[in-house]
């Protein structure tokens, strides 16, 4: 047993080794009863933990939690009543109507001023800049402050920044170009959300692309997506969204179809 690195046995149990290495190590371990028992134990524990259902808050607990936190934070507006997590109860919107929506939207984009919302002009780089505007916040926060607060509780001091004035900094607009472009992207999304019929209209096909990114962003394994095709000179857009009722948009992300970069998000 001693000749086997426990870390490698743990990694083998977790499936973290490449297949060739895993096969060799497993064959070696099979000849060593103690190592084999150790591997079996690792797998048993891992399987038990992984197969256990994740604990979830009940609706009442969720509502009470948000209310209590909001009260403690003196938020002026009361938080929205908590519903069951969207990904657990959301009714799925069938794909086929959305596929038709993509085709309908393509024609619409060419015919109405929506084109102006989808396009950011001739410079493709402008739209790309939108995706990094959120990252700008990180730099703003890091650069803004002066004194570090060492009174952080719960051992989180190493992850806290040094910006005691960061809140004020974040209220200031980011770089001018990025602010304008994010606003354009948000406006596009707001237009789509305000008129969700465009998203829910019957459609003919629905291969939107960037599904993995959308799943990650929306934290949902089965979002609904469509690709908005801009008129000549414009820029296509991939939109993925979630709906709880098949008529309104709960969450939506707009992505660059070429790079899958996040361009805008709702809400």
């Amino acid at each position: 047993m001693a000749k086997y690195d426990p870390d490698r046995i743990a990694a083998l149990a977790a499936g973290a080794l490449d297949p060739a290495e895993a096969a060799v190590l497993e064959a070696e371990i099979a000849a060593d009863p103690r190592a084999a028992a150790e591997l079996a134990a690792q797998r048993l524990a891992l399987d038990a933990v992984r197969s256990a259902p994740a604990p979830l808050l009940s609706d009442a607990e969720r509502t009470e939690l948000r209310r209590a936190v909001a009260t403690a934070l003196h938020l002026e507006d009361s938080p929205e009543p908590a519903a069951t997590p969207a990904f657990a109860s959301r009714r799925r919107v069938p794909w086929w109507p959305l596929a038709v929506a993509a085709a309908a939207l393509t024609a619409l984009v060419a015919a109405v001023p929506l084109f102006g919302l989808l396009s950011v002009g001739d410079d493709d780089a402008e739209m790309t800049n939108v995706a990094v505007s959120a990252t700008t916040l990180e730099r703003d926060l890091s650069a803004a402050g002066a004194t570090e607060d060492h009174s952080a509780e719960s051992g989180d001091a190493t992850l806290l920044g040094t910006a005691s004035t960061a809140a004020a900094t974040t209220t200031a607009p980011p770089a001018t170009m990025q602010t304008r472009e994010m606003s354009d992207a948000d406006k596009t999304v707001q237009e789509l959300v305000a008129d969700p019929a465009l998203l829910f209209a019957p459609s003919a096909d629905g291969e939107a692309g960037c599904l993995d990114e959308a799943r990650l962003l929306l934290r949902d394994a089965d979002p609904v997506g469509l690709r908005l095709t801009a008129a000549e000179g414009g820029r296509d857009l991939v939109v993925w969204f979630l709906s709880s009722d098949g008529a309104t948009v709960a969450d939506l992300v707009a992505l660059d179809p070429a790079t899958c970069e996040l361009l805008a998000v709702y809400p």
């Binding site: 426990p6 870390d7 743990a10 150790e38 079996a40 134990a41 690792q42 048993l44 524990a45 038990a48 933990v49 992984r50 256990a52 994740a54 604990p55 979830l56 808050l57 969720r62 939690l65 948000r66 209590a68 936190v69 909001a70 934070l73 938020l75 002026e76 938080p79 929205e80 908590a82 997590p85 969207a86 995706a131 959120a134 990252t135 916040l137 990180e138 926060l141 890091s142 402050g145 607060d149 509780e153 719960s154 051992g155 989180d156 190493t158 992850l159 806290l160 920044g161 040094t162 910006a163 005691s164 960061a166 809140a167 974040t170 990650l216 962003l217 934290r219 996040l262 998000v265 809400p267």
Partner: protein, 193 residues
């Protein structure tokens, strides 16, 4: 920064501007996972709810100083784990698996029943029996599926220490689940810590 990290950062920015909707979005994005971590750490549902609430209050009060050196979720989970540690310390008592009803430990005939309890505890009881350092590593990595690097950042220990804690935690867990005899010669202490 990952796309979800960018979303969190954008939501934080909106929250700092006074957007209550961003507060709701951040809560919705993370409340279940924070609660799951707390429940698996503390086992008791009420205690886990208290810890979850305390975690979010702490994080939102300090979020203006979040610098983004690590993902927001990493920071959040770190606060959650430390809150659980604090709460467990405050409670000052260790959760124990109760004996089956009507069983007298002094009764020799109870041996089989006792053994069945000992060998087939439920997973939560088995997790609760782990030392807290092992439990947190197993919960974060194996139950929540976080990477070793992320768990390392959350726990504030080297990756090697996380690996060691997970290895030993799983072994103890398997023993508690009754499917592995305790090795006669336990391996030495953490090898990377």
């Amino acid at each position: 920064m990952t796309p979800s990290g960018e979303v969190d950062t954008a939501l934080i920015e909106r929250y700092l501007r006074g957007d209550v909707g961003a507060f709701n979005d951040l809560m919705r994005a993370h409340e279940d996972r924070v609660f799951a971590i707390c429940l698996r750490m503390l086992r008791d549902r009420e205690a886990a709810l208290d810890a979850t609430q305390e975690t979010f209050i702490t994080v939102f009060r300090k979020v203006d100083r979040f610098a983004g050196h690590s993902a927001f979720s990493t920071w959040l989970y770190r606060v959650a784990v430390n809150t659980c540690y604090d709460q467990a310390r405050r409670s000052g008592r260790r959760q124990v698996e109760p004996l089956p009803e009507g069983v007298d430990p002094a009764d020799e005939s109870a041996a089989v029943a006792l053994e069945s309890v000992e060998l087939r505890p439920d997973l939560e009881a088995a997790l609760a029996a782990l030392p807290s350092e092992f439990r947190s590593a197993v919960v974060l990595c194996d139950a929540e599926g976080l990477s070793l690097q992320t768990v390392s950042e959350i726990l504030g220990v080297p990756v090697g220490t996380v690996k060691s804690r997970i290895f030993r935690g799983r072994r103890l867990l398997a023993e508690a689940l009754g499917n592995l005899r305790p090795p006669s010669d336990h391996q030495s202490d953490e090898q990377h810590g």
